[in-house]
C-alpha cells in the first residue's frame, strides 16, 4: 500500500536529517533547563512556618476536651505551636508582647452551651500585626467548629458519635508544605513539550511542500498514488517522527530533571498524540495553501512561538479568553488537569476542541490539494 511507502520514506528522511532532528530536540530541552531554573522563584510555594498560640481552657466539658485533643493532633501541631497558659491575663500579655500570635480561650460554660445547642464561640484574641498567622489560627478553630457541628448533626440523626478522627480538613488543604503544585521545572517540562509537538507543523509543511511543489512533487503527482494516500502517508511519517522526538524530550524531563508528569502516562500520551496530529495537519494545510516551502515554514516559525507565548508557555500569563485561541493552551490545560487532579470535564472539552480543529484542517487540506494543479 502506497500509504506505508510514503510514510516510511518520510520517516527515514526526517530521522536521517540529523541536524534538523537534533535542533528540534535540543531547543525544548535547553528551554526547560533555562526557564525551569531562571523562573523557579515565580513558582516557589511558601512553606507555612508554625504559628505560636496561647491556649486556655477553663471548661471541663466533653466538647472542650475534644478541642484540646484536636490541637494535639499531628497535622495541627505542624501548623500551631500551642503554649498552655494558666490565666486569661497571662495569655493576653503574651499576645500583646508578640510572643504569640493569638490566644485561644474557652470559657467555663462552653461545652454546656454547645450541648444545649446555644451559640457559643471559642474566643480568639489576636495581635494587630499577626498577618496570615491570624488567618491560620482562625481557620483551624473554624475547622474544629464545623467538624463539631457535623458530629452533633449526625448524632442528632441517631447515628453513633464518629469522634474527632473525622476531622481531616487540615490534612486535605493544599497549603501544606507538601502541597501538590507544579515547580518551574514541572511547568516548563509540559509547555516545552507542547512547543516541541507544535514544531511538528514545520516538519509537516517542509515535507508537504517537497511532495506537492517543485519537480519532485510533479514526479510523485503523475504516479498512480492517490491524494489521500500521499497526504495520509506523509502525515503518518511526520507524526511518528514527532512522537519520537516527544518521547525523548519526555524521558529526559522525567529522568534527568525529575519533572512531575503524574501517574497516568496513557492519558498524557493521548493528549500529546492529539496535539501532534493537529500540528501535522496544520503544517500540511499551510504548505498546500502557500505553495511555497519557505513561506510556509516562515509563517509557522512565527506563529508557533506566538501561540506558545499566548498560552503562557514561556512566562506564566493570564490572558483569559485569549488563551483559548492557542492550541498549546488547550493541550497544556488538559495535561495539567491530568497531572494535578483538576477538572476531568475541562480536559475532555480541550481534547474535543483539538480534534474538532484537526478535522476541519484535514478536510480543508484535502480539498486544497485537489485544486493545486489547474
Amino acid at each position: 500500500m502506497n500509504f506505508f511507502s510514503v510514510a516510511y520514506c518520510t520517516l527515514i528522511r526526517n530521522v536521517r536529517d540529523k541536524k534538523s532532528f537534533i535542533n528540534k530536540l535540543l531547543m525544548p530541552i535547553v528551554l526547560i533547563v533555562i526557564l525551569g531554573t531562571a523562573l523557579s522563584n515565580v513558582f516557589a510555594t511558601d512553606e507555612l512556618d508554625q504559628t505560636k498560640v496561647a491556649y486556655l481552657n477553663t471548661d471541663q466539658g466533653e466538647v472542650s476536651q475534644n478541642f484540646t485533643a484536636f490541637l494535639d493532633q499531628k497535622e495541627v501541631k505542624e501548623l500551631l505551636d500551642v503554649k498552655i497558659v494558666k490565666s486569661l491575663h497571662k495569655g493576653k500579655e503574651l499576645v500583646e508582647k508578640g510572643d504569640v500570635t493569638s490566644l485561644i480561650y474557652i470559657d467555663p460554660t462552653y461545652s454546656a452551651a454547645i450541648v444545649e445547642n446555644k451559640d457559643k464561640p471559642i474566643q480568639v484574641y489576636s495581635s494587630n500585626d499577626g498577618d496570615y498567622h491570624i488567618t491560620v489560627v482562625n481557620n483551624i478553630v473554624d475547622s474544629f467548629i464545623q467538624g463539631a457541628n457535623t458530629v452533633q448533626a449526625v448524632t442528632a440523626m441517631g447515628e453513633k458519635t464518629v469522634g474527632l478522627k473525622s476531622f481531616d480538613l487540615v490534612e486535605d488543604k493544599t497549603i501544606t508544605a507538601s502541597g501538590n503544585r507544579p515547580r518551574a521545572i514541572d511547568y516548563y517540562a509540559v509547555t516545552m513539550l507542547i512547543l516541541c509537538v507544535m514544531y511538528g507543523a514545520i516538519y509537516s509543511s517542509e515535507s508537504m511542500s517537497e511532495y506537492y511543489h517543485g519537480k519532485l512533487g510533479e514526479r510523485i503527482k503523475i504516479s498512480p498514488v492517490s491524494d489521500w494516500q500521499l497526504i495520509a502517508g506523509q502525515m503518518f511519517g511526520i507524526l511518528i517522527t514527532n512522537l519520537l522526538q516527544i518521547t525523548i524530550v519526555f524521558l529526559i524531563s522525567k529522568l534527568v530533571f525529575n519533572a512531575n508528569w503524574g501517574s497516568n502516562y496513557l492519558a498524557i500520551f493521548g493528549i500529546v498524540f492529539s496535539l501532534s496530529f493537529m500540528a501535522t495537519s496544520i503544517g500540511a494545510l499551510v504548505a498546500i495553501l502557500t505553495k511555497d516551502s519557505m513561506r510556509a515554514s516562515g509563517i509557522l516559525a512565527i506563529t508557533i512561538p506566538i501561540m506558545t507565548f499566548i498560552a503562557g508557555g514561556y512566562v506564566k500569563l493570564d490572558l483569559e479568553e485569549l488563551m483559548y485561541l492557542s492550541p498549546n493552551y488547550l493541550a497544556q490545560t488538559a495535561i495539567f488537569n491530568n497531572i494535578y487532579g483538576g477538572s476531568a470535564l475541562q480536559s475532555q472539552v480541550c481534547l474535543s476542541v483539538i480534534w474538532a480543529i484537526t478535522a476541519c484542517v484535514i478536510i480543508s487540506a484535502f480539498f486544497a490539494s485537489r485544486r493545486r494543479f489547474v
Binding site: 502506497n2 511507502s5 520514506c9 527515514i12 528522511r13 536521517r16 536529517d17 517543485g214 519537480k215 519532485l216 510533479e218 514526479r219 510523485i220 503527482k221 503523475i222 504516479s223 498512480p224 498514488v225 492517490s226 494543479f373 489547474v374
Partner: protein
Amino acid sequence: MVVEIENLVKEFKERKAVNNVNISIKEGEIFGFLGPNGAGKTTTINALVGLTSPNSGSIRILGDSTAKHRKKVNKNIGLVPQDIAIFEDLKAKENVEFFGRLYGLRGTELKERVQAALEFTGLWDRRKEYPKKFSGGMKRRLNIACAIVHQPKLIIMDEPTVGVDPQSRNHILRSIVELNKRGSTIIYTSHYMEEVEEVCGNIAIMDNGEVIAQGTSDELKKLISSEKRMDITLKKVTQYLIDELNQIDGIKSCTVENQIMTILYEQKNDLFLSLVIETITKYNAEIIAIDVENPSLEDVFLTLTGKKLRD
C-alpha cells in the same frame, strides 16, 4: 497508436503556450520533439502526463482518454523530467525502490526491477550511496532509473542530457535505443538536433506553441531538399560583404557566427560557387576553409522559423 493528441490548446493568461497541436505516435517509435526554449514542448508533455489541464483538445494514451482515466494511463508512463527529481537524502537504491512502490511493485518483483533499472543505468555498484555524492551525469542516470523501474510502455524524456559529461550523454543515448528495443515507445525532447537525428525516427518541430513540421529526419530535410549549405571560415567579415552576397541569385540566407559564414543556397548554375568566392576575395576577407554540406535538421529549423534552434 500509443499517443494521439488532437487539437490540443493550452493558454496561460493571454498567451497560447500550445496552439492546436496534433501528434500521433506509433507503438515502438522513438519520437523526437524539437524546438527552442518556450516552443511549447514541455507544456505539451505536461498535458500528456496530467501536470497541466488543456483548455481544449483531447489526448489518448494507449487508447485511454487522459481526461477520464488519468491514473490508469499514468501507470503506463515513465517520465524523466528535465530537472533532476530525486531524493538527495535517500540512497540510490532507496530512490528507485520508492518510485517502484508508487507504481505498485512489491516483494521479489520490486527487488528484481530495482536491480534491473540500476544495472541498466550503470548505477548498481553505487546503489548504497547518496545521490549528493554523485556527478551530474550519474544523477541524470538515477533520474532515468526512477522512471523506468516499473517498465512503462511509454517513456517520456524531457531534455535528459542537459548539462551532462560526454560519457554519461553517450550512455543515456545508448539507453534510449536499448529501452526502445525492449519494447517501450519513447518521446524524446531536446534542442540538441544531432541527438534527435541520431536516435529518433519521427520528429515534430515546434515553435511558438505550434507544430510547424513533422516527419522522419529525411522527410523534414526534403522540405528544403533543393537547398544546400556552405560554411566558409573567414579571417574578417564585413556587413558590406554579407549584403553583397545576399544579392547573389540563389542565396537564401547568409549568417555569420564566430567568423564562420553559413550560406543556405540553391545552386542555379555552375558558376555559382566561383561567384561567391570572387565576391569574398573582392572584400579581402581571406578564406581559411570552405565546407559544403547537405542540409541538417538545424538547416530545416532555420529555414522554417528563420531562427537558430538555440535562440
